[in-house]
């Protein structure tokens, strides 16, 4: 079950990298939020002592914040600024698929090597799930970075940032219950304010520069 959820998460990454429609991005992010909620629920269930406070908090963070508020906010930004489409310059889907495949393979190799290096495990043991987690989260981080580097609209840069955050969340889950609730709260608060402020800046940039292309922001120089 867990593997299927993580695989679905990886599929959303493929859709993020191959699609050019902004609505697809917000849908993919909403789906990622729901998947992260399911994954963290399953993960927390397996712990011997279930901390209900932690459970409620993580449910809120994933389902409410990542699954509903953020996609809703993105849709609002898309509508308000009337930007609907974004496509990498001169790129076909084939290259996007090729890139995401490379990211998956690379992340898997890193995850496998790192875990293998430590414990000499073999596939099929309990550590397999750790490797899968690790691969998915690293892939999300790399995909997010790729979106940030290659796309030109500042709204897609926010999408890239949110994908990186989702990857980090998955990596935090691999850490189990090591992150105390106070720290989690502080981190969540930061991420919420960051996302909101990024959105505010998108609106400002649109109002000031009458455009949301990153190429327009070139006034600062030596």
């Amino acid at each position: 079950m867990m593997n299927i959820l993580v695989l679905l998460f990886c599929i959303t990454l493929i859709s993020l990298l191959t699609s050019g429609r902004l609505r697809t991005y917000s849908n993919a992010l909403a789906l990622q939020g729901i998947l992260l909620c399911a994954i963290s629920f399953k993960e927390l269930q397996e712990l011997k002592e279930l901390n209900y406070l932690n459970l409620v908090f993580i449910m809120l963070e994933t389902l409410l914040f990542k699954g509903i508020i953020v996609p809703f906010f993105l849709n609002y930004l898309i509508k308000k600024n009337n930007i609907h489409y974004e496509r990498e310059p001169n790129e076909t889907n084939f290259y996007a698929l090729f890139k995401i495949a490379i990211i998956f393979i690379f992340s898997f190799i890193i995850g496998y090597k790192l875990h293998h290096h430590d414990f000499n495990i073999s596939i099929g043991t309990n550590d397999t799930s750790k490797i899968i987690f690790f691969t998915a989260s690293l892939s999300a981080i790399f995909t997010g970075l790729l979106i940030v580097i290659r796309r030109t609209k500042i709204i897609t840069h926010i999408v890239g940032y949110l994908v990186i955050e989702n990857g980090l969340f998955l990596l935090t889950l691999a850490l189990g219950d090591e992150m105390p609730i106070v720290v989690n709260l502080a981190i969540l608060f930061d991420i919420i304010s960051t996302t909101l402020l990024l959105g505010v800046f998108v609106n400002r940039v649109q109002m000031t520069f009458k455009d949301t292309e990153i190429g327009k922001l070139t006034e600062l120089r030596d």
């Binding site: 500042i154 105390p180 800046f201 400002r204 006034e219 600062l220």
Partner: protein, 476 residues
């Protein structure tokens, strides 16, 4: 109630009150309780060194030292923010937001310096990013919007990378015995962890935190931020935030210094330090904007501090002292540059000139500040750089030592050229003095420069002992 909670509550309340204040007078007078709570907090941390509080906080000497620097610069920055507002007559809403965010910014930096839990340290650093972005956007111009957006976005990405580093360290700890990722605990258990995880963790952390330190590789947005933000805020970036970023890296250094990756880690820090000085040299040669010039000089000094840290031995102490003194010199210069801008209404060095004639009091500050920044004796920075090179050569980094000395010579040339242009060059015919500045406004800069001069001639033993205490737990 724990003093940390009281401090957080007071600053939160003051910040909120400033935000909702309807007039500037009220907003500025609310700085009084903010300053009192800041100095009370400084006193409390000073008297409670070595203690652990609320599970996730730990007060140590390096934290107290930099909280002290931030607290002092906070007072000076308030004075200059007031003067800045008197000159600009900015809209009330802009001023109240700036004041409120400034208090939050100082609080986030102070708390980051005493965070023992790496996750919490990250959270406070991210909070400083949110505050910085709002502070940079103070002028509401196109260029400040661009700088704020770039700074905010790149910082968030950089800190996300640093978070990966923290998580990797957590995973490494979890492989053994479910270690909590707090600095004090990891320091005792780190030798049991797998070196490969530690190396990856350190790489991510130093690259991520470089955005806060303003060091290579992610230094560009930091330069834009210091250029665009009002001068009193630029002073806080150079004199406060830079140190907080350094302490974040130092926390990782403290943990990993006990392990077999120490030598490897020193090499990485050395590469980042030398490349920071190199980039600073290249840009300083061509930069024409006076604020960017100061920002690139900060890049140079953080590079020197990193080189000192990587050299080990006395170099570690020199690194911390260097940053403390650099904070004051740079902040003093930023305050003065604010007045320079008011005199000429331009940041382009080529459009300045005859500053000695136009505003002698400010010109003297600028001259002393530039000489101090170039680490010329009796600047206290000379002493720290002297010890840095001592550590560098005694650890047999001959080639790096000579290379960095060469780069510093070029920087010396670039800064001297800019200084002579501003102070003595003839003004262009179309250029005229826009505003006469009251010499009283330069008093704070004189105080700062006098303190740095005093430190250079009579090095304060208490301060040195304090720094020695901060590094006493590190292996030689």
């Amino acid at each position: 109630m724990e003093p940390i909670i009281i401090y957080l509550l007071i600053t939160l309340f003051v910040s909120a009150a400033m935000f909702f204040a309807r007039n500037k007078w009220l907003s500025f007078s609310l700085f009084i309780p903010a300053v009192i709570s800041q100095f009370w907090f400084l006193y409390w941390t000073y008297t409670h060194r070595g203690g652990k509080f609320l599970t996730y906080f730990r007060v140590d000497s390096i934290g107290v030292l930099f909280i002290g620097v931030i607290s002092i610069l906070f007072v000076f920055s308030i004075i200059h923010t007031y003067l800045y507002d008197q000159d600009r007559k900015s809209p009330i809403r802009q001023v109240t937001i700036q004041n409120a965010v400034m208090v939050a910014f100082i609080t986030a930096m102070s708390c980051a310096l005493i965070s023992d839990h790496l996750g919490l340290l990250w959270a406070f650093l991210e909070a400083t990013t949110v505050c910085s972005a709002i502070l940079i956007y103070f002028d509401r111009t196109n260029i400040s919007l661009e700088a704020a957006w770039k700074y905010f976005f790149i910082c968030s990405i950089g800190l996300a990378l640093a978070y990966v580093g923290i998580l990797f360290l957590g995973i490494a700890g979890q492989e053994k015995e479910h270690l909590d990722i707090s600095v004090s605990l990891l320091r005792t258990k780190v030798h049991e962890l797998s070196p490969i995880w530690l190396k990856i963790s350190f790489l991510f952390a130093i690259v991520g935190f470089s955005v806060k330190m303003g060091a290579a590789p992610l230094f560009t947005v930091d330069i834009d931020a210091k250029d665009t933000a009002p001068s009193p805020i630029g002073a806080l970036f150079s004199g406060g935030l830079l140190n907080v970023g350094f302490v974040a890296v130092f926390r990782f250094y403290e943990i990993f210094a006990m392990t077999e990756i120490r030598d490897w880690m020193d090499k990485v820090i050395m590469i980042i330090g030398v490349s920071s000085v190199f980039f600073a040299t290249v840009y300083l040669l061509k930069v024409k904007n006076i604020k960017r010039l100061l920002a690139y000089s900060s890049l140079e000094h953080v590079g020197i501090a990193l080189i000192a840290l990587a050299s080990g031995g006395i170099g570690i102490m020199a690194a911390i002292l260097h940053l403390v003194i650099h904070s004051f010199v740079k902040a003093g210069l930023f305050y003065q540059i604010g007045q320079l801008y008011r005199t000429y209404q331009d940041k382009d060095i080529m459009l300045h000139g005859e500053y000695f004639k136009n505003y002698p009091a400010g010109a003297i500050v600028l001259m002393i500040g530039f000489l101090f920044m170039m680490s010329i004796p009796p600047s206290a920075l000379f002493l720290t750089e002297f010890y840095t090179f001592g550590a560098l050569f005694s650890s047999f980094h001959w080639i790096i030592g000579v290379l960095v000395l060469g780069l510093l010579t070029v920087i010396f040339y670039a800064l001297t050229k800019a200084l002579i242009q501003i102070l003595f060059a003839q003004m262009l015919p179309m250029q005229e003095v826009q505003q006469r500045i009251n010499p009283w406004e330069s008093v704070s800069q004189y105080i700062i420069m006098a303190a740095v001069l005093y430190m250079g001639i009579f090095p304060n033993q208490t301060l040195i002992n304090f720094v020695a205490e901060a590094v006493s737990h590190l292996p030689k």
